[in-house]
């Protein structure tokens, strides 16, 4: 127990990220199921109140983006990146532990809002965030949202932002500085490359939302008017800031999954990735373009025809590097010897489903066409084809691929295939009809709709699909759990992968590599035209390896942040100061801690 609380081992932190994020994924999924159940009937549905429904969809979006998908990617960053680049750990192991604890506490803080009602003299299920995951001003002002709901949201997101930023800097430094000898930038595995690009997006995008949240906090706590038109402010400023973060955020969510797919396809078709450099560069191009498209979320706000044209154009450009990646993946499969493992099925599912999300994205890029679609279920369909059909299928592929490496135990392939097919059927049944609901006139974020709108059938299909996804996820959950009682018999390289993580035992020893390998090719474990596989590493370290010990200071420092947030929530300055003291003392002791034990 103590060793887990104080751990600085990137592999343990990776597992902590995985299980925590998976827990939040289940919570977010449960929220989605209640939302879908409510919408199964028109005119009042199953009786979920408007207030509860608004909290559910706000928390569903916030949870899935910040507490499930990002940290599930982070689980792989933590576990896999040091192994792929031939390092013993990340650059800043204690900062890494700090990131995890801040993420966990931020997530708990946000979700505590569901039960915190009585503390504010309200019912349970009444003070959770309820202004949408996008929190548009001026609905979020004290005037229109007087309760603590929005405070929970803006404080929780600021805490989570600290976790993301700390991890972002950590992984940029790790990938740039900790590569094994010979691991040149264009020999990095694509997953590592996409992680690097993602972390650059994190460290540039999160400051933007942090600024926006700080301004919002000033509006709500100290009576400023940054976003309040009544006081000379501008609610559209919030939308610019939010989407300047929000669009790169979409790529923060999808690029790691693209990286996973770029690892899985070569392994299971026994062929190197087709057009490695183009796949890498197109990832970089997507990230750059991701900074120039944010206003396509705002076509209906009346930016004027010039701005609309520019953002429509830049948005369409994104289709080019994305299309290139898809063709390169198909090129990888072409001529290979494809083994239909669960991991490969999910990777192929990613390609097949992501195309649908990409193509509906082109209809959004066309600004006038988007006027009809924006804020309807058509957009809900689009984001779910991208973030479920894309990110989640990609992450599942990664879990089946790397689980033996992470735990030494195989997931059941049989249950995996049940999981895959149920997920694929469920997601299409859930999300495809939403295109029609939206085009027929159903806005998003409504707790009920009239029967005369003619979307009842489509909503019923969506609900059935959502529950099939729910069943699929339970199958997967059971598959994960049962590996605990399975023999730890995974070999070092069960799939015949080409990258460095497969050169060491499963699960890896605490020091990862007995000796740090020297890299001579992009596919160190494979025989290619010009390179043989690298020589196997010795079984035992030839010399003692010095590993860092645990530390209490990351978790103690992390605890200071929710204390500050609780103080702000309760408008009690002494508690804020106490939390700040914990952070300051924690960082001070951390800085002077002898880290060689």
């Amino acid at each position: 127990m103590k060793s887990w609380l104080t751990t600085t081992d990137h592999k343990r932190i990776g597992l902590l990220y995985f299980w925590t994020a998976f827990g939040f994924f289940l919570i977010g999924g449960l929220e989605a199921l209640i939302i879908r159940a409510q919408l199964v009937r028109p005119d009042g549905g199953l009786g979920v109140s408007a207030e509860t429904f608004n909290q559910l969809f706000t928390m569903h979006g916030t949870t899935m983006v910040f507490l499930a998908l990002m940290p599930l990617s982070a689980a792989f960053f933590n576990f896999i990146i040091p192994l792929q680049i031939g390092a013993r750990d990340v650059a800043f192991p204690r900062l890494n532990a700090f990131s995890y604890w801040v993420f966990l506490l931020g997530g708990l803080f946000l979700n505590a809002s569901f039960i915190a009602g009585p503390l504010f003299g309200a019912d349970r299920l009444s003070v959770a965030p309820d202004a949408g995951w996008f929190g548009y001003a001026n609905l979020t002002s004290r005037q229109f949202s007087p309760g603590p709901n929005v405070d929970f949201w803006l404080l929780g997101l600021q805490i989570l932002g600290i976790a993301s930023l700390a991890a972002g800097f950590n992984f940029v430094v790790t990938i740039l500085n900790m590569r094994a000898p010979g691991m040149r930038m264009l020999r990095l595995p694509v997953f590592t490359w996409m992680t690097l690009v993602t972390q650059f997006l994190v460290i540039t995008a999160f400051p933007v939302i942090t600024v926006a949240l700080v301004l919002l906090m000033f509006d709500r706590f100290f009576g400023t008017h940054f976003f309040l038109p009544a006081g000379g402010g501008d609610p559209i400023l919030w939308q610019h800031l939010f989407w300047m973060f929000g669009h790169p955020e979409v790529y923060i969510l999808i690029l790691p999954a693209m990286g996973i797919v770029s690892e899985v396809l070569p392994t299971f078709s026994k062929k190197p990735l087709f057009g490695y450099t183009v796949v890498v560069y197109s990832g970089v191009v997507i990230a750059f373009l991701g900074w120039s498209v944010w206003s396509h979320h705002m076509f209906s706000t009346g930016l004027g025809p010039i701005a609309d044209s520019v953002f429509a154009g830049t948005t369409m450009l994104i289709a080019i590097p994305t299309g290139v990646k898809i063709f390169n993946w198909i090129g990888t499969l072409w001529g290979g010897q494809i083994r239909f493992t669960t991991s490969l099925l999910f990777a192929v599912g990613f390609i097949a489903m992501f195309i649908i999300g990409g193509l509906s994205g082109v209809t959004h890029a066309s600004a006038p066409s988007d006027l009809q679609q924006t804020d309807t279920y058509y957009v809900v369909a689009h984001i779910h084809y991208v973030l479920f059909g894309g990110t989640i299928l990609g992450l599942f592929s990664g879990i089946y691929y790397w689980w033996p490496k992470m735990t030494g135990r195989f997931l059941s392939e049989g249950m995996g295939k049940v999981h895959f097919w149920l997920t694929l059927i469920g997601m299409n049944l859930a999300f495809f009809p939403m295109h029609f609901s939206g085009l027929l006139g159903m806005p998003r974020r409504i707790y009920t709709y009239p029967a005369e709108l003619g979307v009842t059938r489509f909503n019923q299909l969506s609900t059935i699909g959502a529950f099939i996804i729910g069943i699929a996820t339970l199958v997967f959950f059971w598959n994960l759990l049962r590996t605990r009682w399975r023999p730890s018999n995974a070999p070092a390289n069960p799939w015949g992968g080409a990258t460095l993580e497969w050169a060491i035992p499963s699960p890896p020893p605490v020091y990862n590599f007995t000796v740090i390998p020297t890299i001579a090719s992009r596919l160190p474990l494979w025989q290619t035209e010009r390179h043989g596989p690298m020589t196997p590493l010795p079984d035992r370290p030839p010399a003692p390896i010095h590993m860092p010990g645990g530390s209490w200071w990351p978790i103690i420092t992390a605890f200071g942040l929710p204390i500050i947030a609780i103080g702000a929530l309760a408008h009690l300055i002494p508690i804020v100061l106490a939390g700040a003291a914990v952070v300051i003392v924690g960082i001070y002791r951390w800085a002077f801690e002898p880290f060689e034990m």
Partner: protein, 305 residues
């Protein structure tokens, strides 16, 4: 799918259809390639190790240029449509101001000097210039078959322009999340022939009906005068409340409560008795009126054609 009934919506539907068919072509090609690859190259026992192909420059340039070319065919009509729908109606258009409230709609016809609430009446085949703003949070005006969406933002004026092609009743709804009863912020548009529209305008311009002496409506007027109603609602010559919609001609409307319910005795009854239970967050508190007074009040409201 869209069944557009205005120049604006026809423009949008045409653009969507154009992109849709390009998307179908791309979708079929890519999914076919994927399926062929999966079927043809499944691992067979004893097969030789595949050739380690690292890429193919010409092919990769090709599949970079192909999507770029398709995008040109989408971008050009997009830019054209952006300017065509930028919201400027020709000279002589009928101007309507739309003001969003949590959670109802106010329409002003500045040239006709009348107002309407939740139900927008428009003459057919006449260019309409819609100017929009909000009294509180951001809302979005959307009538799927006629026009929108455009956001209503406090302190700003946004515009769209359209011309409805055929008469009829059109359904619409607020599209931007605006708080508790966002789902209940609905609207209707009645597109009418010129003569029917003129009749409606005349009706709105007329003073509200005065109930006959001794009628139930007359008793209802007295109830209205001594109840909380006057604090929030206007009835010309009776009360000047500004918080809720003007009720001078409420009896002539097809719906009540933000186009949420048909305007019947039964729904008025439920609405006045407990509005927040029908429309969460509604500012109108439950009214404690005796059954007798309530019937009279409803009779009065219904007389206000």
């Amino acid at each position: 799918m869209f069944a557009p009934r205005s120049d604006f919506s026809t423009e949008l539907a045409g653009l969507f259809t154009n992109i849709f068919w390009w998307a179908v072509v791309v979708f079929v090609i890519v999914e076919m390639l994927l399926l062929i690859a999966l079927a043809r190259f499944r691992a067979r026992p004893g097969a030789a190790h595949p050739k380690p192909v690292h890429g193919h420059t010409a092919l990769e340039i090709g599949w970079t240029l192909a999507p770029a070319l398709i995008l040109v065919f989408i971008a050009v009509p997009t830019m054209r449509a952006i300017f065509a729908t930028s919201g400027h109606a020709p000279e002589g258009a009928l101007r309507v101001e739309v003001i969003g409230h949590q959670w109802w709609w106010e329409y002003r016809y500045p040239t006709l000097n009348i107002s309407a609430y939740n139900e927008l009446h428009l003459p057919v085949r006449t260019p309409i210039q819609v100017d929009m703003t909000s009294a509180d949070v951001i809302h979005s005006f959307w009538v799927p078959r006629l026009g929108g969406k455009r956001d209503l933002i406090q302190g700003r004026t946004n515009r769209i322009a359209f011309r409805a092609d055929s008469t009829g009743e059109y359904w619409g709804q607020c599209a931007e999340f605006c708080g508790a009863s966002h789902a209940n912020m609905r609207l209707r548009v009645f597109v009418e022939s010129d003569s029917a529209f003129q009749r409606w305008v005349d009706q709105q311009r007329a003073a509200p009906a005065t109930p006959a002496k001794g009628s139930p409506a007359e008793a209802g007027l007295q109830v209205f005068r001594r109840s909380a109603c006057i604090g929030c609602h206007t009835i010309a010559g009776v009360a000047q409340g500004k918080v809720g919609p003007d009720l001078s001609h409420v009896g002539g409307r097809a719906t009540i409560a933000g186009a949420l319910f048909p305007n019947t005795t039964e729904t008025l009854h439920r609405w006045i008795t407990n509005a927040p239970s029908l429309k969460p967050g509604a500012l109108m508190p439950p009214q404690n009126v005796s059954p007798q007074d309530l019937d009279a009040l409803i009779a009065y409201l219904q007389s206000l054609k």
